[in-house]
Amino acid sequence: MDCDQSANRYVRCVVVVELMSGVKVLDVGQRISAPYCAKTLANMGAEVIKVEPLEGDEARRMGPFPPGDRHPEKSGIFLALNANKLGVTLDLTSNVGKDAFCKLAQKADVIVENLPFRHMENLGLGFADIKAINPGIIFTSITPFGDRSANKDWKATDLTLFHMSGNAHELLGPVADPDTEPPIRAGGHQAEFVVGLTAVTATLAALFQRRMTGNGVHVDLSSYEALVTQGIAGLASETYGVPRQARDLSKSTGGSVTAVGGILPCNDGYVAISPREDAQWERWLEVIGRPDWSTDEKFATRSSRQSNLVELWRLLGKWSCQHSKHDIARWGQTQRIPCFAVNTISDLLQNEHLIAREFFVEIDHPIAGNLRYPGVPYRFSNATLPLSKFPAPMLGEHNAQILGKAQ
């Protein structure tokens, strides 16, 4: 029995175990989505074995890298997505590779893969094949459009998914000329992360169901539908016939600012503010030292502020550009106004709040060295999260240890 009151104010006297302790996962993933799914399970204490082709996961070639050093053990995205996993290499097209994979699959609870549509099936390693040797297997297949779609043979990437799903049209905000300023995707690999997160959700639901039924299941996940699920509010607007914000600035109700909020320039970057309610606006006027505006008919109500938007934001900008974004955010929050500094990546790594919450996870890697990785947004009172158990595996690092055992 463990009774650690100091680490967390909510811990009760229970046997603290990892959330997914005892769950065995095979990650047959490339790039982002399936590896992120398996990584999330590893963060929760599942035993994850990453199965890479002999030439390695493509993420090893994607970066970011140190300057001029495209070393396959130094790709930032690979290191981030594969920490806390063990790694083996297998040629799944060879009989030796297939046999070794089946031995691992017999002992696994979960297989997650995002290989091309029906690739595993064509290798003789599909759900039906594995179920024959392991009836309880949860086999999560991430494909671009799912097994039921007429487009099931189509390919997709982070870019095409972000654009097809409606998300790209609203990201930039309205633009002056939609025919020369295209919609854009978000930075990094946001679409792939959504797919990976959705795959964890579906996989955990299948695991929970298996506790009742004892049966394995094929989880058929559509990446496209996962991205569309980010936009269910947009679909709701359509089914109720409520038009969305136009991408054309001249037809829209506001550019990057509205009476509800926007971004102000500062002497060290930008601050995002949203004093949308009248009471918040009154307190905001105290912050900027213009209480007289509360009786100025141009700015007195939310609708008058909306009508005089251009002048209002010009005046606010004249004030804000004399100050630091961090000061303005603090002054605003002291008055309970939703108001945040627009943080750069360097701001984020120094952010005292995130440091106090131990958000960043430091892991040392024998080739890539010591790096701080983003952690997870959740803390469990009665379970530990082994976020820094070990670094991402080097190519084939655990072949002898694991395949020796499997063979």
């Binding site: 609203e170 930039l172 709701a236 949203s274 701001d347 469990f380």
Partner: protein
């Protein structure tokens, strides 16, 4: 073959959340078969009430009215907690405790309860009381900073934080349910929306540590794949996204756009050298895409094995017949009596029934179900509670 129950049948969730993220998590759970009870009051209604989005954030739930500001109301909430597995809430940090529903007090009603608390910046740390909206958190967390173009104002960002957190809260609840099934123990989960966003930008955080410079955002372009952009098509504001992820796909693209001679051109042999000649390549692709509609270009490229897709707004996503053919969008009779097309869940479990897709309820619609059937009160007791303005 017998039809299996939905994965979460038998699990009860008390949904004390509002606006977007918390309700979305409970919506996903309800569609997976959980009995989700949303509690609300007409004194402080869920701000999304009456909007179309309320209809998708609250699909397949029950909705009971309860005044939590009076002791008897609080007692009733605890009676529901006593027969629930999960409580989800997303008030500002500290609010649920002031209401009298701290994790400790819930544990008295139900020692193995799973309580998931989501707030803007989490429930510990110097900024825990910061007042937050998802749109502002996208700026605070670096999420918007990695997108857009260099030397421009930060992008606006769209509605991203809340739906992402909705799915992640749902995932966390499922993890806690699995843990409880093994150990018998519940959990209190402290969830930070801000950290959820910062956790999805590892590339930028690691690039900075490796290179000591902040990487400029690159619009639709990519570090590794090339060509990788959106290209103007024939119709107004029509674009096709094309991402070439291998040399085989590059060769197919050259054939598709009538540039076979580029296949053997050493300047374009690998992604890195293609990036160096992006202007020349992109103008040739655009000359080709300008002759075609966005779906037309997509179909040609996809049949040649090249990842491509139209850049759609929500109106055109909604019209995509494939979403109906796969069963993701299906028709439901909503609370206003109309039949409307609403989204489901993005996965299937083999041939099992997909999900429970029922319309969002109205406040108080399930008072009888909750108070009479689940809590076992008598009609007389309920009418006394109505007189006392506890139930309405």
């Amino acid at each position: 073959m017998n039809t299996l129950p939905l994965p979460l049948e038998g699990v009860r969730v008390l949904d004390l959340s509002w606006i977007i993220a918390g309700p979305t998590a409970a919506r996903h759970l309800a569609m997976m078969g959980a009995d989700v009870i949303k509690l609300g009051s007409n004194r402080r209604p869920d701000p999304s009430t009456g909007s179309p989005s309320f209809q998708v954030y609250n699909q397949s739930k029950s909705y009971a009215a309860l005044n939590l500001s009076l002791p008897r109301g609080l007692e009733l909430a605890k009676s529901i907690i006593a027969v629930s597995d999960v409580v989800v809430e997303n008030f500002a940090a500290g609010v649920i405790e002031r209401l009298g529903l701290s994790y400790e007090s819930m544990c008295k009603a139900n020692p193995s309860i799973i309580m998931v608390s989501s707030s803007g910046t989490g429930h510990t740390g110097p900024d825990k009381d910061y007042v937050a909206y998802g749109s502002l958190l996208q700026h605070y967390t670096g999420w918007n900073a990695v997108s857009g173009y260099p030397e421009r104002e930060p992008i606006r960002g769209g509605l991203w934080a809340d739906p992402w957190v909705g799915m992640e809260l749902c995932m966390v609840i499922l993890a806690a349910l699995n843990h409880r099934a093994t150990t018998g123990y519940g959990n209190y989960v402290d969830f930070s929306m801000a950290e959820a966003l910062s956790a999805t930008i590892p590339e930028a955080l690691i690039h900075y540590q490796m290179n000591e410079v902040i990487k400029e955002p690159m619009g639709n372009k990519d570090d590794w794949d090339s060509p990788h952009d959106v290209y103007r098509c024939k119709g107004s504001d029509q674009w096709v996204a094309i991402a070439v992820t291998s040399n085989e796909e590059w060769e197919s693209l050259c054939r598709a756009i009538g540039k076979e001679d580029w296949i053997s051109d050493a300047r374009f042999a690998i992604a890195e050298t293609r990036q160096a000649h992006a202007t020349e390549i992109n103008s040739a692709i655009t000359r080709w895409t300008l002759q075609l509609g966005d779906y037309e270009a997509t179909r040609i490229l996809q049949s040649a094995g090249i990842p491509a897709g139209p850049s759609l707004n929500y109106a055109r996503v909604f019209q995509d017949t494939e979403l109906r053919n796969t069963g993701y969008i299906s028709k439901v009779r909503t609370s206003d009596g109309e039949t409307r097309a609403l989204p489901g869940l993005p996965w299937r479990f083999g041939s099992q029934p997909a999900e429970k897709n029922e319309p969002a309820p109205v406040l108080g619609q399930h008072n009888d179900r909750i108070y009479l059937e689940i809590l076992g009160l008598t009609r007389r007791e309920v009418s006394q509670l109505i007189d006392a303005r506890i139930i309405f």
